[in-house]
C-alpha cells in the first residue's frame, strides 16, 4: 500500500506539470491580451503606454520564459499579483477558499443529512407514496437549473414572502444576497448573521447533490438488501434494525463514500453559478471573474490549485475505497 501511495504521488508530478503547461499556454495564447485590450477600450492609451506596461509586467518576453518564471515563483509560494483585484493572489485565494468552504461544506452536510435517510427509506419502502415523492424530488433536483432556482428562492424568501402575514414567521425573510451585513463585527452576532446569509445559497447548492446522493443511496441500498448475506442475517433471527444498520447499510454506502470523497475537491472549487447569483465571494466566482476580466495571474493560480486538489482527492478516494472494501487491494 505504501509503495502504491508513493508511486501515485510520483506520478502526480508529471501530470501536474503537464496540466500547468497546458493551462498556461491556453490562457496566454487566448486572443485579447489584457494590456492590448486597454488600447481598444481607451483612446487615451498610446502604443508606447502598452509597450511600457508590457515591459513592467514582463509580457514582452517569449511564452516559454514567462512559463519558467511563473513556475519558479509558484513553487516558491508566490502566486503573483492580481491585476483585477489589486491584491496578492495568495490573499485572494485564502479569503475566497474560506468563504467557499462555509457555503459548500454547509450545503454538503445538508445534502448528506437529508439524502442518506431519504434514500434508505425509499429503498426499504419501494413503491410507497414516500418513495414516489422522493424519486419525484430527485428528478426535479437534477433537472432544475441552479440559476433559476436561486432567483426563485430570492423572490420567495426575500421579495415576496407571503407568510409574513403571520408574525411568528416573519423571521423567514432572508437576505437576497451577500455574505454578511456590513458593519457586523466578530463574535456570536457575526456567525448568526453569516448563517442567515448562508441559508438560501446553501439550500440551492444542496439541492443538486441532495438529489444525486438520494438516488445513489436508494439504488445501492436496493441492490444490497437483495443480497444473500442480508437474507442470511435475517434468517439468523437478527432484529431488522441490526440487519439494515450493520449488514445492509455499511455495504450500501461504499459507492457513496467514493462519490463523496471525489466531490470534496469540488467543495474548495466553490460553485460559480450559485456564488454569482447570491453575490457570494467564493473561489468559483473568483475563477469566472478573473477569466472574464482577463486576469490571467489569478485565473492560473485558481486553476492550478484546483487541478492539484483533484489529483490529491482522487488518490484519497482510491485509498479510502481500499480501506472500506477489503476486496480491493493495491500493489
Amino acid at each position: 500500500m505504501q509503495r502504491y501511495i508513493l508511486r501515485r504521488l510520483l506520478q502526480m508530478v508529471p501530470i501536474a506539470l503537464g496540466i500547468s503547461i497546458l493551462m498556461f499556454a491556453l490562457l496566454t495564447l487566448a486572443p485579447g491580451d489584457p494590456v492590448d485590450l486597454l488600447i481598444a477600450s481607451d483612446p487615451r492609451v498610446k502604443p508606447q503606454d502598452v509597450a511600457r506596461l508590457k515591459r513592467i509586467y514582463g509580457l514582452d518576453q517569449p511564452i516559454h520564459i514567462r512559463y519558467v518564471k511563473w513556475l519558479g515563483r509558484t513553487l516558491r509560494g508566490d502566486l503573483g499579483f492580481s491585476r483585477t483585484y489589486k491584491e496578492p493572489v495568495t490573499h485572494l485565494m485564502r479569503d475566497r477558499i474560506g468563504n467557499s468552504l462555509w457555503l459548500t461544506v454547509t450545503a454538503f452536510v445538508l445534502a448528506l443529512v437529508v439524502a442518506v435517510p431519504v434514500g434508505i427509506y425509499s429503498a426499504l419502502h419501494q413503491y410507497s407514496p414516500l418513495d414516489y415523492l422522493a424519486t419525484t424530488f430527485t428528478f426535479f433536483g437534477v433537472s432544475i437549473p441552479v440559476f433559476w432556482f436561486g432567483i426563485m428562492m430570492i423572490y420567495l424568501f426575500a421579495v415576496w414572502h407571503p407568510w409574513t402575514a403571520l408574525p411568528a414567521l416573519s423571521w423567514l425573510v432572508l437576505p437576497p444576497g451577500g455574505i454578511s451585513t456590513p458593519g457586523v463585527a466578530g463574535g456570536l452576532p457575526f456567525y448568526l448573521d453569516r448563517l442567515r446569509y448562508m441559508l438560501l445559497p446553501s439550500i440551492v447548492l444542496a439541492l443538486l447533490s441532495m438529489a444525486t446522493y438520494t438516488r445513489y443511496t436508494r439504488s445501492s441500498m436496493l441492490e444490497v438488501i437483495r443480497q444473500d448475506y442480508v437474507r442470511t442475517a435475517r434468517s439468523k433471527g437478527l432484529a431488522e434494525r441490526t440487519v439494515i444498520n450493520k449488514h445492509a447499510l455499511r455495504n450500501a454506502l461504499i459507492p457513496l463514500v467514493t462519490i463523496v470523497a471525489l466531490s470534496i475537491s469540488g467543495l474548495f472549487a466553490g460553485a460559480p453559478i450559485t456564488e454569482t447569483v447570491f453575490a457570494w465571494p467564493g473561489v468559483g466566482r473568483l475563477l469566472v471573474d478573473s477569466v472574464i476580466g482577463g486576469d490571467y495571474v489569478a485565473a492560473q493560480a485558481v486553476l492550478m490549485f484546483l487541478a492539484v486538489l483533484v489529483l490529491v482527492f482522487n488518490l484519497i478516494a482510491d485509498i479510502g475505497y481500499a480501506l472500506l472494501d477489503p476486496r480491493i487491494r493495491y500493489d
Binding site: D33, P47, K86, D95, S170, I179
Partner: protein, 565 residues
C-alpha cells in the same frame, strides 16, 4: 431514553436560537424608517478594482472615488462645470490661462482642505503625484495629459496652495484638471514609491482602509472583498460641512437579476448606473411603481455600425447611404426601447456641446426603402434572381454583420437589420464573437469584412481626433493604435478634428466640432444607431440622487448633499 430527551432539548434550544435572533435582525432591517436615516446602501454589479485613482481601471472604482476624493473641476448632472477643489476655473480672459505660441501656462489656487488624517492638502501633493505618473517605471496606464505637461511649480512654496502648470503643447481641455491624477497624499505614498516604483500598484494604499486616505467628503472604513465596501462621512469637512448621510455602503451583486431582487426586497436603497440593464430598469419601473424612482438619462454611449471601407462595395458612399435609408431605426428604438433610447445621427451625442443645435446641417437618413433602392440602382446594382442586388461584375450585395455574442439587445437589432435590408436586396450574414475576441482581435485589428456593431463611450470632451482621422487607422506599423476602425480618410475631416482638439476657445472649438459632425453625417463611415440611456433606481425618500451618464462622473458626485425624507 434520557439521552434521547437530552438531544431533543438541545435541538429545541438550537431551533429557538436560530428563530429568535434572525427574527430580531429581520425586524430591524424591515422597520427602519426612511426619514432621518443616515445610511444608504447602493447595489452595483461591479466591484472596484482599486481605490488609488492612478491605477483604478473600473468605472465602479470611479463611482466610489467620487466620494473619497475632491475633484479640481466637476460637472453637475446638467453637465455644467463648477470649481470643486479649486477657487476658480482658469480662463483666457483673466489671464489665469496664458498662451505662448504652442505652449500654455495655467494658474491655479486650491481651496484649503485636509486629508482625512488631518494633514493639509498642499501643492507638494500635486507635484509628487504628477512626478509619480511621469516615472516610466510606474505601471500607471494612461499618461495622456502627463506627457503634455512640462512642469508644475509651487508659486508660494511646497506647503502653499498656489500652483502653476506649464504645458508643452496646446490642449483644449487643460482647464478641467490641474494634472492628470490630481493630488495623492505624499506623506502616505512616498515610502512605497521610494521602495519600488514598479510595484506602487501593489501597495496597500487603495486597498487597505486604514491607510487609504483621501480629501473628500467621505473616507473608506471597510472593504469586504467580493461583498461590500463602506465609506463614512468626514465631520466638518472644510468644503462640504458634515454630510447628512453618515455611511454609504456599496454591495457588489454581479448577477443583475439578483440585483433587481435585492432592490425589490428592500435590502438596497439605490442602484447606480453601473448596475442593471435597460430592460431590467423598464421591468423594475413596471413592477414597483411608486416604491422606487427609476431614472432614464440619455447618455453618452453611442451604439453604431462601422462600415469596413476597405471593402470595395462599402467604399461607395451611395451603398452606405442606401443601408442607412433601408433600416427603420425609428421603429427599432420604439419597438425595443419604448423610444427611451433615441436614434442618433452622427458620431457625437446630441447633448454634446459640439453637436450642432437643432441638428443644423446634419444629414439624416430617415427610413425610405424606395430611396435606398434608387441609390443602389444609381451605384450600378440591380436585383438578381435570388432577390439580392448585384453589380455589372456579378458581385452580390452581401455583407457579414459582427457584434458581441450573447448580447440580447444587439442580437435583436441584428435581426431587425437583416430583415429590413433583405427588403431592399441586401443580404446580411450574422457572425458574432465573444467580447474578448471581438474587441481584442476583430474590431481593433480591422478584421471585420463588412459591418461591425458596437458602442463608443463618449465624454463631454470627446472629439474626433484618432477616432475619425486618417492617423487613427490601426495598422501593424502603429502597433494597432487609434480607433478609426472603419478606415475613414478625409483630409478636411483630419484638418477639422486636429484643429478642434487644439482649440482652447470653447466657442470656436464647438464650431469646428459642428462641422465634423456635419461632415461625418454626409460621408457616413459608420451608421449611427441610437444613444444608450443610462439607468438607475432609488427609493423615493432618497433626495438628491439622480442618474448621471458622464464618463468620469457618477451619481455619487453630490453624495454629500443626499438626505432621506
Amino acid at each position: 431514553m434520557r439521552a434521547r430527551r437530552q438531544w431533543s432539548l438541545l435541538l429545541l434550544a438550537l431551533l429557538l436560537t436560530l428563530t429568535l435572533v434572525p427574527w430580531q435582525a429581520a425586524r430591524a432591517q424591515q422597520t427602519g424608517p426612511a426619514a432621518g436615516r443616515d445610511q444608504v446602501v447602493i447595489g452595483m454589479s461591479q466591484e472596484p478594482d482599486f481605490l488609488n485613482p492612478m491605477f483604478a481601471e473600473m468605472a465602479a472604482a470611479v463611482a466610489v472615488l467620487d466620494t473619497i476624493f475632491v475633484s479640481d473641476i466637476e460637472r453637475d448632472n446638467t453637465w455644467k462645470l463648477f470649481a470643486q477643489g479649486v477657487e476658480a476655473i482658469p480662463n483666457l480672459k483673466d489671464g489665469t490661462w496664458k498662451l505662448d505660441g504652442d505652449r500654455m501656462t495655467l494658474v491655479w489656487k486650491i481651496k484649503p482642505r485636509n486629508w482625512s488624517d488631518g494633514r493639509p492638502v498642499t501643492c507638494a501633493d500635486f507635484v509628487f503625484t504628477h512626478n509619480v505618473a511621469r516615472n516610466e517605471q510606474v505601471p500607471v496606464i494612461v499618461r495622456d495629459l502627463t506627457n503634455r505637461i512640462s512642469n508644475i511649480v509651487c508659486t508660494k512654496g511646497a506647503s502653499g496652495t498656489d500652483i502653476t502648470v506649464n504645458w508643452k503643447e496646446r490642449y483644449a481641455y487643460a482647464n478641467l484638471t490641474i494634472t492628470e491624477y490630481g493630488a495623492l497624499p505624499r506623506h502616505v505614498l512616498e515610502k512605497y514609491y521610494r521602495a519600488n516604483p514598479s510595484k506602487l500598484n501593489e501597495a496597500p494604499y487603495g486597498n487597505d482602509p486604514a491607510i487609504t486616505i483621501g480629501d473628500g467628503a467621505y473616507k473608506l472604513v471597510e472593504w469586504r472583498k467580493g461583498a461590500s465596501m463602506t465609506v463614512e462621512a468626514v465631520p466638518n469637512h472644510k468644503l462640504f460641512g458634515t454630510p447628512k448621510i453618515r455611511r454609504i455602503t456599496w454591495r457588489f451583486i454581479p448577477d443583475t437579476n439578483a440585483l433587481v431582487a435585492n432592490m425589490l426586497s428592500g435590502a438596497i436603497d439605490a442602484i447606480g448606473t453601473i448596475g442593471i440593464t435597460f430592460d431590467q430598469a423598464v421591468q423594475l419601473e413596471r413592477q414597483a411603481a411608486g416604491r422606487f424612482k427609476v431614472f432614464f438619462e440619455e447618455g453618452l454611449i453611442w451604439e453604431h455600425i462601422d462600415f469596413m471601407l476597405d471593402n470595395p462595395l462599402l467604399a461607395d458612399v451611395r451603398v452606405r447611404r442606401a443601408i442607412a435609408h433601408g433600416i427603420n431605426r425609428e421603429q427599432m428604438v420604439q419597438q425595443l426601447f419604448g423610444g427611451k433610447q433615441p436614434v442618433s445621427h452622427s458620431y457625437l451625442p446630441t447633448k454634446h456641446p459640439g453637436y450642432p443645435r437643432g441638428d443644423q446641417g446634419v444629414t439624416k437618413y430617415p427610413y425610405d426603402p424606395a430611396r435606398a433602392r434608387a441609390l443602389l440602382q444609381e451605384a450600378g446594382f440591380s436585383p438578381g434572381p435570388d432577390g439580392v442586388m448585384r453589380n455589372a461584375q456579378g458581385q452580390r450585395l452581401s455583407f457579414e454583420l459582427n457584434t458581441t455574442a450573447g448580447n440580447r439587445v444587439r442580437e435583436q437589432v441584428e435581426q431587425i437589420i437583416q430583415q429590413n435590408l433583405r427588403e431592399i436586396g441586401i443580404e446580411i450574414k450574422i457572425q458574432n464573437y465573444p467580447a474578448r475576441v471581438y474587441f481584442g482581435e476583430i474590431t481593433n485589428r480591422r478584421k471585420f469584412p463588412g459591418l461591425a456593431m458596437y458602442a463608443w463611450v463618449m465624454s463631454p470632451t470627446s472629439d474626433c481626433d484618432q477616432l475619425y482621422t486618417s492617423d487613427g487607422i490601426p495598422n501593424e506599423g502603429n502597433g494597432w493604435a487609434g480607433q478609426n476602425y472603419p478606415g475613414y480618410k478625409n483630409a478636411e475631416m483630419d484638418r477639422l478634428c486636429k484643429a478642434a482638439s487644439r482649440e482652447v476657445d470653447e466657442a470656436k472649438r464647438n464650431q469646428l466640432l459642428n462641422q465634423t459632425v456635419q461632415l461625418f453625417s454626409r460621408d457616413i463611415p459608420a451608421l449611427p444607431l441610437y444613444i444608450r440611456a443610462s439607468v438607475a433606481a432609488a427609493k423615493p425618500g432618497l433626495q438628491g440622487f439622480t442618474a448621471v451618464q458622464l464618463s468620469g462622473t457618477y451619481e455619487t458626485w453630490n453624495a454629500h448633499r443626499w438626505f432621506w425624507q
